[in-house]
Point group: C2
Chain length 231, copies 2
DNA sequence: CAGTGGTCTAGACCACTGA
DNA sequence: CAGTGGTCTAGACCACTGT
């Protein structure tokens, strides 16, 4: 006797129909009631399968209009952005952290603009390095809003990286993240053991907690770094 | 009379408890039955709220062990990778496409390794440019597996970009995508109107259809390009 | 205004896994 | 082995939106 048909079975079957070309882009998909009948399951089961396909950008759903295979397959790539420590340890390498500099400053204009800070705000400016098996892995240029996190002024960042400190202090927050390419200047080249002019992959992240800026960080990876995912 | 409490309400409430610090990282969350009782809803409703929080990396769930707030907030960034044409048109700019070269070749070794092709496989090698409001926007270096897609040999890529052609020919497929930084060499600098040595953001994508390689593409963006998302 | 997806319910059985 | 989440069902009402 067959086990229950699961929403996964249905999802896979629909996806197969799409990849095989039975249902071309733009084509209408039967409505949930028909699908439920044809698969012999409850509508909720079909609904879950279809909902997930829509979330993944495979199909489009509209009330009354029904479900269609997406015209241009909107591809949605998902990246997990772990703590550097985990990223390195998960690769089986030894993690080492070093603080390079720490200073309390007035927020520079570009930072005030980015984080929407007022002119009197002080920030803690940290520069750090993360090493994998002794080699430079990532350069961290970190700015922390002291108006929101005055306790950062007293924290000791010589042993614990600011990322890990922040995770404990402000566990969950909103963030804007962006990827781009940068050139190694002399200082970066020294830190990352590369040549000035080398192209470097960098990640910038601004973080808010309940609509107030917490921190901005620029993370520059060693030459050749790739951020990869499947979808 | 109050409307139903929705799974969104519950999700928001739990997220609020976490961001406010009521439930710290590592803390246990009541089980679904208790939550359902305390919110006055069915367990399925709580289940959906919790399932989505888990999907977003906020909490961890294990049978028997229960649900906990994640220790290190695994951040999951999602990027939509649209067709270049849409990317440009969505910014309100005029899109223009140009093919630069087209040739049928034997697959070079690096490509055979990447796509797992055998030695006799022929590929179509295309180089193209995408312009936004007349300025170079993206350089495309495309390789198409002619063993899998022989009809590409006869297709006219001088008017329609290979991306759009492929979307129609092989609508849905598996892909591996990766982001990195590259340096402009003289040829790239000419195409993208920049200087040799400029750092450029690039995206590489290998695509499979039912476990057979379809295409590999390297997309190099003009200087200064950023790929941004919120989460 | 009628068709479609969005969501909730109350109950059930099951799979996994920690104690 | 017992507790927790994973999933399905059958039915219901509702919100949105195209025709």
């Amino acid at each position: 006797m067959p086990q229950h048909t699961t929403y996964r079975d249905i999802k896979a079957d629909i996806l197969r129909k799409i990849t095989k070309g039975d249902w071309r882009p733009g084509a209408s998909i039967p409505n949930e009631i028909e699908l439920a009948a044809s698969y012999g399951v409850a509508r909720a089961t079909v609904n879950r399968a279809m909902r997930e396909l829509a979330e993944e950008g495979i199909i489009e759903r509209k009330r009354k209009a029904g479900s269609k295979v997406r015209m241009s397959p909107l591809r949605r790539a998902r990246f997990d952005i772990p703590l550097v420590r985990r990223e390195i340890e998960d690769q089986g390498q030894a993690y080492r952290y070093a603080m390079i500099s720490s200073a309390v400053e007035g927020a520079p204009d570009w930072l005030r603009a980015r984080l929407n800070l007022d002119t009197t705000t002080e920030v803690l400016h940290l520069v750090c390095m993360h090493f994998a098996d002794g080699s430079p892995y990532q350069y961290e240029d970190r700015w922390i809003n002291l108006a929101l996190l005055p306790e950062a002024r007293e924290a000791d960042f010589s042993a614990l990286g600011p990322n890990e400190w922040l995770v404990a202090a402000v566990p969950f927050s909103d963030a804007e993240i962006s990827f781009s390419a940068a050139t190694a200047d002399q200082a970066l080249a020294n830190h990352l053991s590369c040549s000035p002019g080398d192209p470097l992959f960098q990640l910038e992240r601004s973080t808010w907690w309940q609509d107030r800026a917490v921190t901005y960080v620029r993370l520059v990876y060693r030459p050749g770094h790739r951020m990869t995912t499947r979808y």
